[in-house]
Each structure stands twice: as C-alpha cells, then as structure tokens.
Amino acid sequence: MSVVRPFDKLPVLNSAAILLVGTDEDLQRQLAQTILKEKKDFKISIHLATSLPLPAERDHIRPRIDLIVFMINVQSKYGFKNIEASLAHVDANFFLGKVCFLVTGVGRVNHCSVDMSAVRKLGDVYCSPLIFCELELEGIRISTAQRLLRMLQICAGHVPGVSALFFSSLMRSSNDE
C-alpha cells in the first residue's frame, strides 16, 4: 500500500509542493489557478488528485509534498467517502500540521448530503484544521488561497522559527475553554 510520506524525500531549495485531493475537479482547478496567481517568492507546484493513493509510476519525479489539502464538498456524499478512504494512504506524520480540510458547499443548505457532525469528527480524529469556505465566490477563493499559501510556507519550513506543529492552535475552539 503506497503511502504519502512527509520526509521520505529531500526538500528542494526555495520551493514547496501542495497536494489538493477532492472529487470536484472544477473547484479544484479554480482554487489551483487562484493560488498560482497569488504573489509568492518561492517556486510552487500544485498537484491535483481525486483520490489517494497517488499513481506509483510518477513517484520518482514527484517532489516532497509539504501540505495536503482535502477538499470536502458537503453536497457530495460520494466525494466524502472518497476522502475518508484516501486518508488511509497518508502517513501519520503528516497529521502534525501538514494536513487541512477545506469544506465547501455549506451555503446551499438544501443540497447538503454530508452530515456536519461527520465532518467535524473527521477534523477531530485527524487533528487537522477545518477551513470553511465557499470556493465559488471569487473573494473567498482568493483569501483561502492566500491562507493556504501562508500555511504552505510554514509547512515547507520557509518561515524561520515557526513550524507546522503550531497549527494545532488553529483548532482550539471556544468549547474547549
């Protein structure tokens, strides 16, 4: 079973790689284009996939993945099941801040097929932040892209003094106090 590992490859100077996993390809592509348009001072490569595991034949040319973003569309139960199955192919070390869940589609309440408690449980179980965003709206897409870029920089180690482990502070909610 091929698993994505965070530290099995050497990092490349001044570059970072982000992996977007989700079944909604249009949304994925739009988010990727928005990320590419943002101003950044490092080389970025964006990998798009509908599910894991990633095809083994491209393993040797794939760079080290710094951040995995799972795109959950609340309107598609099929997509959610896909993501749950894909999570098994991610090495446990990734879940120390290098994974986050993007949840879209919550705005259209009538079309929601995935229970919100199931989504929150996923975030809890895998100790990763949930970011709610409506990616169809351009403004939100841009701000999400900026946020992901910042997270990517930190995960790739470009920001001195800050590591991905700090992201657990993103998950502290008012219920915990």
């Binding site: 079944t23 590419l36 964006i46 798009l48 997509g79």
Partner: protein, 362 residues
Amino acid sequence: MAARGRRGRGAAGGAMDVTVAEFIRRTVLKVPRSHIPALLQAWGFLPAARLQALDVRPLKEAIAEAVVQLCQENSASIKEAAVLDIVYNHTFQNKRVWTVYQMTKATGGETDIFDFTAFKRKFKRRIQSSLINVTINFKEFEDNAIWIRIAWGTSYTKPNQYKATYVVYHSQTPYAFISKSINRSNLPLLCQALIVASNYGDIREMELRSHCLDSLKDIVFKRYSQTFQTHHPKPLQERNVAPENVDPRLIQEDKSEKERIQRVNQEVFGDGPQPKLEFAQYKLETMFKSSPKMVNVSERESFRCLVKFSSPHLLEALKSLAPAGMADAPLSPLLTCIPHKARNYFKIKERKGVLAAGLVSP
C-alpha cells in the same frame, strides 16, 4: 373571453359547424405566433394566396378569428379540423408523453406489402363496430410515419375533440407509439384495432415512456450510436482535444484514471448523442436487509421502495456522472442498460438463493 355556444349549428355564417369553428380557433391559439404561418401551410387546406395575405402582426386572438373566417369561406369540416390538430401535435410532439407498444406476428404469418388504404379501412371498421361516436383521422408524413387521431365519445355523447388519442405507426416496424390518453378504458379497443389493421397477432405495452418521440424511435429502431463488443481492445485514439495551455506548475496526478473513465464511458455509452429520456423508475420488491440491531422491521415482507431518476436529458446526465467525479466508472448496469433493453421502468425482485441483492425482471 366569451365562448361561443357549442350546442347545435350556427344559424348565420357559413356552412361550418360552430363546434368545428371553436375547435379550430382554440387550436390556432395554442400555436406560438411565429409558427402559425408554417403550420397552416403544412396543413394544406387553406389556399396559398389567402395564407400569404394573412396578417400575423396583431394579437393572436385576431389571427385565430381571421383563420376561422377563412375556414368558413372554405367550408371546413371536422375532418379538416382534425387534420389541423394532427399537424399541430406533429410539430409539437414533445409536449405529450409517448408510450411504446410492440406488436408480434401471429405464428405462421407472412410479411405482407403494406396497403395504407386497407389499413385505414380495417382500423376504422374495427373501432366503429364497437363505438359509433368516434372521429378517426389519418395523416402520413415524410418519414413514413402514419399519425392516427382518435376522438372518443360514448353511446350517447359526441366525441370529445379536445382529449384525442394519437398513435404513431411506422408501417415497416412492429412498433406503435401512443400518447398517453387520460381515459384508459378505450385502450384495449385501440390496441385490437391496431393489430387487426396491421395484420399482427398480439400487442404489448413496453416499459418505455418519454416526451421525446424521436428518441423513443431511436431506441427501438436502434438508430443511436451503439457500442459493439470488440474482441481486441482498441488503442486510445487521438481526439481533437485543444492543446491545453497548462501551467507546468499544475500537475494532474491521476491522468491515467481520467483516461480510464473516458474509455469506460465510451465503451458503455458510445460516441454519439444519447436518446433523450426524462426519467427512469425502479420499483424495488426486495427484502429489507437490516443490521441485527434493528429488529422492528419485518423481514418477511418486501420493503416497498420506488427510486426515480429524473433529468432534462437523463442519459447524457448519467454519461457525465463519472467524468464529473460524482460516481464510480463503470456505472451500475441497471442504469446503463436502459437504451439496450429499451425500457426505463424496472421491477427489481429478490434473487432467489443468492445473498446478493436484486435481479432485473422482464
């Protein structure tokens, strides 16, 4: 809008029945304004010169009145009005729901050369032997389609011209398309008349219904692009895909999976446009299989459940499910068999003796 009296003949005016005039008026009112000249021309009853002089600029009520006036001058009867109705329904055939019927030859029967006159005579005779108050009209169109219009009455009422049944029959095929009439009690008589007139032995209703008559014809006449099972796998052909100006920083990891989905889709659905159906209905007569915790649900009677898929274009929607990332490819054969089996209404029964669910029954 005050309705004209429908009883009795009009005292003044031409030799045309008031009911006929009203019927023609209402038929013209149903037609969208831009289609009126073409429709009247296809009707072929009014002289061409008068048709050209017809003004289509004013309100539709005025146009309808003008048409009725012209019909008065030419002494239109119910026959011409019925033909106008056929032409209207032929032009706007997709407004009705059509059901497909299949006829089978009696054993030992031969294929005779089709005689339209004999067909009409036999058909009329069979219906009128049971029911006097009917209006039956025929019209043949260019694609060898025979349209039959039947307006039904009872022993003491005149035929209701506004609730007619339409039958489309292609003489070289054993299929008839009947538009769903509200009154089903006349259906056996209609079916009998059809088989008598066309020299067949039996007729049965197929589980195939749709608004789009052409698509129904495509399915039963096998005119859509079908896929044929080839023994050797075809190499993936180059299609005219526009060269993608893909950013090299954007990497599609599962290109091969996408290609597989396209290939499977092509194998299942073929390349051409799919026939247009609006719904598929699955009636489940299977047992409910519950987890041991749910003891309340009776496991002895079947769990009644009806699953209905509806879409403006169902088969195209199914074809795009896997590429859009909403379903696995290949799709369930229950969905993909719709055009091959020529049905969109299914009954799924329990498969006896096997643990797996569901067998599609004929």
